[in-house]
Every structure is written in C-alpha cells, then in structure tokens.
C-alpha cells in the first residue's frame, strides 16, 4: 500500500517537473514563432512608416533625456575613477583611451540597453498588455486588422532603430563627460587625451562592434517587450507581472548576450 502511495507521489513529482519544463519550452517556441510572424508581417510597419515614426517618438525621443544624462554622469565617473587608477602608474594621458574604449565597447551598448529596457521596454509591454486587457486587440481582429502588423511590428522596428542611436548618443555623451572631468577639471593634457584615444580606438573593431552590439540588444529588448505584452494575462495583475518580466528578462538577456558578443568580437585578435 505505502509503496503504491510513494510511487504515486514520485509520479506526481515527475509530472509536475515535466509540465513545468514543457510549459517553458512551449513558451520559448511561441516566442520564436511570434518573432517569425512579426518579421513576416512587418510590411505594414515599413510601408506605412508613419506608424513606426510615431513609435520611435515614444521609444526613442522620450528616452533621450535619461540616456543623455546617464551617459554624461557615467563618463564623468569614468573620468574620475580612471584618473585615480591611471595616475598611480604615471599614465594619466591614457585616460581618453580608457574612457572611450570602455564606453564604446561595453558601457554604451549595455547601460543604454538596460535603461532602454526599463524606460521603453516596460512601456511597450504595458501598452500592448493594456490594449489586450481592454480588448482593443480583439476589436482589431474583429475588424480584420492584423494586430501584429498594426500594433506590434511598428513598436518592434522603432525599438530596433532607436537602440543603436541611443547607444551612440550615450557613448558620445559619456566621452564628453570624461573629457569635462579629465581635461577641464583635473587637467589632463587635452592633446594627449584625444590623440591617444584616436590612436587606439578602431573604427571597425570598436565602434562598429559597439553598433552591432546595441542593434542586437535593441532586437532582444523590443522582442521581449512586445512578446510579454502580447502574451500578458488580460488583467491588471497580468499586465503588471508582464511588465516586471520584461525588465527582468531583457536585462538578463542583455548581460548574457553582451558576454557572448564580447567573447566573439574581442578575443579573436588577441588570442592568436
């Protein structure tokens, strides 16, 4: 008797585990199919570009302030901290290199991506989730308007377009911040600051790779945001938890992708 009971308990345990794994994988597959469907139905978003421009305004332009201000401060902190460390080794002229490389390669795309996820990604999820909760999406389907083509795809493309521009602005602003602190405040030689920076920052190796990184982050963040919004439970609680999931998942995705991209991009040359 007790043996049968134990076996039943064990069986239920495995059933629960299996159900959890299947649900996760199914959701991943759904996200992938959703991505494919969205790409296939992007025609409207690109033909009627006005739809996308509107979304660029909400995702990109409205994120400008936070991106510019954070970029400036990150650059200023880099300038201060970098100077502290570099001057111990008597190479404070390399401050420009330190600030520019760390911003262009890593901090620009990553921090701008994190800010973008929490500023624009969460807004996208909440908007689409609320549209679903208030049955606007169902209404569109009733009118034979494809909500993915009309609502989701423009937001996705707006995010993909905005993200590299925001990351570039972040890096440029950060370098300006580093310049302000390093050259104007501390008094590192201005010529050395810029010339050493120019000598070691490579257009293809560093800047182009930074742009590629930020584009990948843009795709990941907006994909997660539109998917979570579209997949949200159509209740107030569902929308709020979907918004949270967007920020958490896309932040983790950015950091994981960043590691992979860095490993791919920046180790090839030096390892040989």
């Amino acid at each position: 008797m007790t043996e049968g009971k134990q076996a039943g308990g064990l069986r239920r345990l495995f059933e629960r585990l299996g159900a959890a794994v299947t649900a996760r994988i199914w959701r991943l597959g759904f996200a992938a199919r959703f991505f494919g469907y969205m790409l296939l139905h992007s025609g409207t978003a690109l033909r009627r570009f006005q739809l996308t421009i509107r979304e660029i305004y909400f995702a990109g332009v409205q994120s400008l302030i936070i991106i510019l201000v954070s970029g400036l401060f990150v650059g200023m902190v880099l300038g201060l901290q970098g100077y502290e460390t570099l001057q111990r080794y008597g190479s404070s002229e390399a401050l420009g290199v330190l600030v520019a490389l760390s911003l262009v390669r890593e901090l620009g795309p990553v921090v701008a991506g994190l800010l973008f996820a929490s500023r624009a990604g969460s807004a996208i999820t909440a908007e689409i989730g609320l549209m679903k909760a208030t049955e606007q999406i169902a209404a569109m389907e009733m009118m034979a308007v494809d909500p993915i083509a009309r609502v989701v795809a423009p937001r996705f493309w707006a995010g993909v377009i905005s993200m590299p521009l925001l990351a570039a602005l972040f890096s440029a602003m950060g370098i300006f911040g580093g310049y302000l602190v390093g050259v104007k405040l501390i008094g590192v030689d201005e010529g050395a600051f810029w010339s050493q920076m120019q000598a070691s920052v490579d257009l293809r190796e560093d800047i182009l790779n930074g742009v590629i990184k930020s584009t990948v982050f843009g795709i990941a963040v907006t994909w997660i945001a539109v998917f979570e919004g579209y997949d949200a439970q159509p209740t107030a609680e569902g929308v709020s938890s979907a918004t949270t999931r967007t920020v958490v998942t896309s932040s983790l995705a950015i950091l994981a992708l960043d590691f992979m991209l860095t490993a791919l991009m920046f180790t090839g040359g030096n390892a040989r």
Binding site: Q50, I53, R54, I56, Y57, G60, V61, L64, A100, V104, S162, P164, L165, L166, A168, L169, S171, A172, M173, I175, W194, M197, Q198, A199, V201, D202, L203, R204, D206, I207, G210, V211, G269, N270, R272
Partner: protein, 159 residues
C-alpha cells in the same frame, strides 16, 4: 501631440544619433587612420618577437607606415615569421632593417624600419633580411649578472 511635432522630434533624434555616430567615428576613432589605401606585404623573420601583436604599428622615423598583419611560427627555421602590411605610398629600399622596439618602458611593441641604401625598392612578398629581435628583459638581466660575475672573477685573478 500632432503628427508634424512628432515628425520633427524624431527627425531631431535621428539626426542627433547619426551626429553621435559621426563624432565617434571621426573624433574618437579617427577615420583618417582607417585607410583603405593600397598596401603591400613583406615578410621578416625574427628570432624572438617578444610581445608583438597583430595590428601593431610599423614605424619608420616615428611615422606609422603600416601594420603587422600576421605572426606565425616557422617550422623550418624555428623563428617567428611576421608579415608586414605596408602602405604603398611608402617605399623602402630592399636592404631595409626591421627592429622590434618598445614604445616607452612598458609600452606596446612595434616594428621600427630603418631604410638602407639599396637602389632597388621592396616589392610584394619580399623578405627583409636584416632583423633585430625584441629585447627580453630577463635575458638582459642575466647577461648583466653574468658579465658582472665574470668581472669580479677577473679582478680576483689579477690580485
């Protein structure tokens, strides 16, 4: 918010974004050194390249004239085979000497070229005959110690 205002703001945003990219490319990355100019390759063998890396600069009289494009180990001579990518606008005589030098005390290593007196210029896939390896600090120190010890020994024998 009406459509024209949104358009204007998006226009400003996109223009600012591209301006930032341009700033990164020109002011930070220095587009000028990113030359798609014609290059020619010559090779040089070194007994020891020290810490020379791919893309290290090649300088002549302090001016960057090219970059290292490949570093390989030559199985036959047991030496390092370095391929130098030189800009075609800089031509060097065939008996040019290549040295591995260090910028500053602990700085990065680069190849210094010293032009010779030959009338014939280097061509694609030529080999530089005169090379000087990197200075390895450990060897230098051990040489110094040995010569010091030898000196002491000589001094004692003379007494």
């Amino acid at each position: 918010m009406n459509r024209a205002t949104i358009d204007a703001w998006v226009g400003v945003f996109v223009a600012a974004g591209f301006a930032a990219l341009l700033f990164l490319a020109l002011k930070v990355g220095n587009l000028a050194t990113f030359s798609s100019a014609q290059t020619y390759q010559v090779q040089a063998k070194f007994a020891n390249i020290g810490g020379l890396k791919i893309r290290a600069p090649i300088k002549s009289a302090g001016v960057v004239v090219g970059r290292v494009s490949e570093v390989r180990f030559d199985n036959e001579s047991y030496e390092a085979l370095v391929t130098l990518n030189l800009d075609t606008q800089y031509q060097f005589p065939r008996d040019t000497a290549a040295k591995i030098l260090t910028s500053g005390l602990l700085g990065e290593q680069y190849i210094g070229l010293e032009a010779g007196g030959d009338g014939v210029m280097l061509k694609q896939d030529d080999r530089l005959r005169l090379t000087q390896s990197a200075v390895v600090l450990e060897n230098l120190i051990s040489q110094f110690l040995f010569s010091k010890a030898a000196e002491d020994k000589d001094a004692k024998e003379k007494k």
